[in-house]
């Protein structure tokens, strides 16, 4: 019962505080922190010391986050942004650490502590910065790209930093508090084991995990796939711990290895909720362990810390933006967006605390300062937008592109790559348009991958999978799944969650088409309509009709049929009326067509038909 009531307190706090924080424009990280503070020992006191234990457990969320970061790291995008990632990123991290380090030394820190703290404070908040940039639609601007680059560099930098931290431990026994199995061997064996472990991850990722996932995907049991995703990350973490390496590093590596596999989006969407919950739990733990006594007794120290840190970070950011030639308005946005200390700092502080690098008192103070910088960010951005930017900024318009160029970032998603979808995919590819393809037949996915298509395994009707396939940024979605019901579900999911996305839907029959019309879908493609008309045209030609006449009849039939479809869909609910209408419609169709052809296209047109003119006695003859 103890566990349940605990879980209830945590979940209730999150459910109440996170939406409130989001409402106030502060982001979910601050919401979780707030929840932790509220239920922590200084406000309501629901949880006390066990906050620490919860955090140990929740740190696994960090491992998962790094796995996902690795998974999302697209080599192509990395390469495109390599200059700003490596240049801007290392400049920001290096310079910030370089300035903060002596400052903390002067304050009286040991050099190990000063270094650890400086590195931690140099990190910015991915959750806050990227979310803000995305919400304002600035992802494609120079500031958006620069922010993304710096954050990515920091994400990657966390791994070596986590690896270095134990080496900085002043108290050696604290670092090796839990002796690992590998410690009993001599140094060279340990080193060998380390390389072996990394090698194992690489080869397993390539040759073991993907076939295994394929096997599991074939069972069509979703929860089994989720279980194996979790197993994968847990196993990697365990392996790494065994050889005394950072589990985060192992997870990141595994993520990178799997980034090119067809299960990328499926893994991503399966692990996302776990990562979110665990990180949420982690931040609640952080919130609960912020020591408000410290802030109350020495508000001056905390205030100085916040002001000093933000000034240094902003200065370095603005300078680096200048060096990389950002326009002033872009540079300001980039500076303010990244000026806070990020969630990684919490991770790093809690590690440094455990390792005994930093006193509990300082850990608490720094965590409080970090939380405050995060809280301040949304207000700073607002200030920038309303006051500073209008005065100094030069506006860069986000979309000044040539109309003809189709961006190589995938703007099209094709769901379902059977005989219908694959033709669409081939056609688009022939025109240089690469689409993101989703299919949930693992055998087919494997085959198509071998043929060089970028296909991902997964059930496209799931919102989370659509999200990770980029439905938020895509322009067009093609619903080409074999099963009509799935297409219908997909169409309604898209309508609900991605209303901007234009959806072109395959319909098997007239009845499917009616259902889709009812859902409000405008672009409906009955799969057999065009083919059967083409066949019909050939039949007419085979009977001796001139080809062009037959073709025109086919074109007219198509237009008429589309019109009749829309008309009849409206009538469908009154079944009786529908039957009458349908019969009426077919009668009309028949009549119209025969009139078209046998009465010299009477009531339609007489194009290229001189007979009518000849029949008409008066009037000039033009031929």
């Amino acid at each position: 019962m103890e566990f349940l009531s605990q879980a209830m307190i945590y979940l209730a706090a999150a459910v109440i505080c996170v939406p409130v924080a989001k409402r106030l424009g502060m982001g979910s990280v601050l919401g979780y922190l707030l929840a932790g503070i509220v239920i922590g020992p200084f406000v309501l006191g629901f949880i006390g010391k066990e906050g620490q234990d919860i955090m140990h457990f929740a740190e696994f969320g960090v491992v998962m986050m790094l796995f996902l970061i690795g998974l999302e790291l697209e080599p192509a995008q990395f390469w495109r942004l390599r200059r700003s990632i490596l240049g801007l990123g290392s400049l920001q991290l290096g310079l910030t650490t370089f300035i903060l380090f002596p400052a903390f030394l002067i304050t009286g820190f040991a050099w190990q502590a000063a270094l650890a703290v400086s590195l931690a404070l140099a990190m910015s908040s991915t959750a806050i910065a990227l979310q803000t940039v995305k919400e304002k639609g600035l992802s494609q601007t120079a500031a958006g790209q620069a922010s993304f680059s710096v954050l990515l560099f920091q994400d990657i930098a966390v791994i070596p930093v986590l690896a270095i931290l134990p080496l900085l431990a002043i108290n050696a026994s604290a670092a090796h508090g839990h002796t690992t199995f590998i410690d009993q061997f001599p140094g060279w064996v340990q080193t060998l084991a380390l390389f072996l472990a990394v090698g194992i991850i690489y080869f397993a990722g390539r040759y073991l995990i993907v076939p295994l996932l394929r096997l599991i995907a074939r069972t069509q049991l979703r929860e089994l796939f989720t279980a194996s995703s979790l197993f994968l990350v847990v196993a990697i973490a365990t392996l790494m711990q065994l050889v005394g390496l950072s589990p985060a590093l192992g997870a990141f590596l595994a993520g990178v290895v799997l980034a090119n596999s067809e299960y990328r989006h499926e893994l991503e969407s399966d692990l996302q909720p776990f990562k979110g919950l665990l990180l949420g739990l982690f931040f609640i733990g952080v919130g609960a362990s912020i020591n408000f006594e410290l802030i109350r007794t020495s508000p001056g120290t905390v205030f100085l810390l916040v002001a000093g840190i933000m000034l240094v970070k902003s200065f370095v950011l603005f300078l680096s933006g200048r060096i990389f030639r950002l326009k002033t308005d872009q540079n300001l946005l980039y500076t303010f967006a990244l000026s806070q200390v990020g969630e990684f700092a919490f991770v790093l502080f809690s590690f440094t605390g455990q390792l005994g690098i930093l006193s509990a008192e300082w850990t608490g103070t720094l965590m409080a300062a970090t939380a405050i910088t995060m809280t301040v960010t949304p207000f700073l951005l607002l200030l920038n937008e309303k006051v500073i930017d209008p005065r100094f900024g030069v506006k860069e318009k986000p979309d000044e592109r040539e109309a003809d160029i189709i961006e190589d970032r995938h703007k099209v998603i094709i769901a379902g790559f059977g005989h219908f979808g694959s033709t669409i995919g081939r056609f688009l590819r022939a025109n240089g348009v690469e689409a993101t393809i989703l299919d949930n037949d693992s055998d087919r996915v494997e085959l198509l991958r071998r043929m060089g298509f970028k296909v991902y395994y997964g059930d496209a009707t799931r919102r989370d999978l659509l999200e990770s396939a980029g439905a938020g940024e895509a322009k067009i979605l093609v619903a080409a799944i074999d099963d009509p019901e799935s297409n219908r579900n997909l169409a309604s999911t898209v309508k609900k969650h991605f209303p901007h996305l234009r959806t072109l839907v395959r319909a098997r029959s007239r009845m499917d088409a009616y259902d889709l019309i009812e859902l409000g879908v405008n672009d409906i493609y009955r799969e057999s309509l065009h083919t059967s008309i083409a066949l019909g045209v050939d039949v007419l030609a085979g009977l001796g009709y001139r080809r062009y006449t037959a073709l025109r009849q086919g074109q007219k039939f198509l237009h008429y049929d589309e019109k009749a479809l829309a008309g009849m869909a409206a009538m469908r609910h009154d079944t009786k009326q529908y039957i009458i209408q349908a019969r009426e419609s077919f009668r009309l169709q028949e009549e119209l067509l025969s009139r078209d052809l046998h009465q010299d296209l009477a009531g339609n047109d007489h194009s290229w038909d001189s007979e009518t003119i000849r029949e008409s006695l008066s009037g000039p003859i033009v031929e």
């Binding site: 047109d605 007489h606 290229w608």
Partner: protein, 219 residues
């Protein structure tokens, strides 16, 4: 007394002339519009207005299946018909001819009872690669533009429309930015003039090119 009434009527007539605007339909064909700098230059000049309709045929009927009734409805709603197109092989792109074949129907546009277009105005707006001199007896194209587009001229006449001289942008392969700009502004001026409904058709038709008439008005 009679003269008084006459002058009164003239004033009324003049006032009407000034207040009655005309609706202009631009029937546009270009099979590769995205690659045509000069047509884009002209199209950009078309004022956004309820009285001017830009109708891009290749965008509407890529399969050449022109909807006769819809097109005829459009024509009925407008007073001035502009055929805007590049000058391909001394004529318009194929879809323009398809449009004429299907839409200008016997008994509707011409022939007995074919009075739907009576009294409307028609003209071509053309971009041509060669210079104006090339389109003459001595030039390498041997015929003048007016000779080559006489089918349009006569089509308009058969439909009892007044055919106005064409607006031609010559030498499009070697057009300078300045020349392009001034041609574009001339086109805008023409459209504004036609829309106002206040233009001397009987004066315009005396010119070979509409460009010549515009030059006289502006300079």
């Amino acid at each position: 007394m009679a003269t008084f009434i006459d002058s009164f009527l003239i004033v009324i007539f003049a006032m009407q002339n000034h207040t009655v605007t005309m609706k202009v339909l631009i029937v546009f064909t270009h099979p590769r519009f995205e690659k045509s700098l000069n047509q884009r230059l002209l199209v950009k000049q078309i004022p956004v207005s309820g009285e001017i309709t830009f109708h891009d045929l290749y965008e509407h009927y890529p399969g050449f299946d022109i909807a006769m009734e819809a097109e005829q409805r459009l024509l009925t709603e407008h007073d001035v018909i502009i055929w805007q197109h590049p000058f391909y092989w001394y004529s318009a792109p194929a879809l323009m001819k398809q449009w004429i074949d299907i839409v200008l129907d016997f008994g509707w546009a011409y022939g007995p009872g074919g009075t739907a277009l009576t009294g409307k105005y028609a003209l071509n707006v053309i971009t041509a690669g060669g210079p104006r001199q090339a389109y003459s007896k001595e030039g390498y194209n041997r015929f003048a533009i007016r000779e080559l587009i006489s089918p349009f001229d006569q089509t308009a006449a058969l439909c009892r429309m007044t055919y106005l001289p064409p607006f031609v942008l010559h030498g499009t392969h070697r057009l300078s930015a300045e020349e392009g700009k001034s041609a574009a502004s001339d086109y805008r001026f023409l459209l504004e003039t036609l829309r106002s409904g206040d233009f001397p058709a009987e004066d315009m038709v005396k010119h070979v090119y509409m460009n010549d008439w515009i030059a006289l008005q502006k300079y």
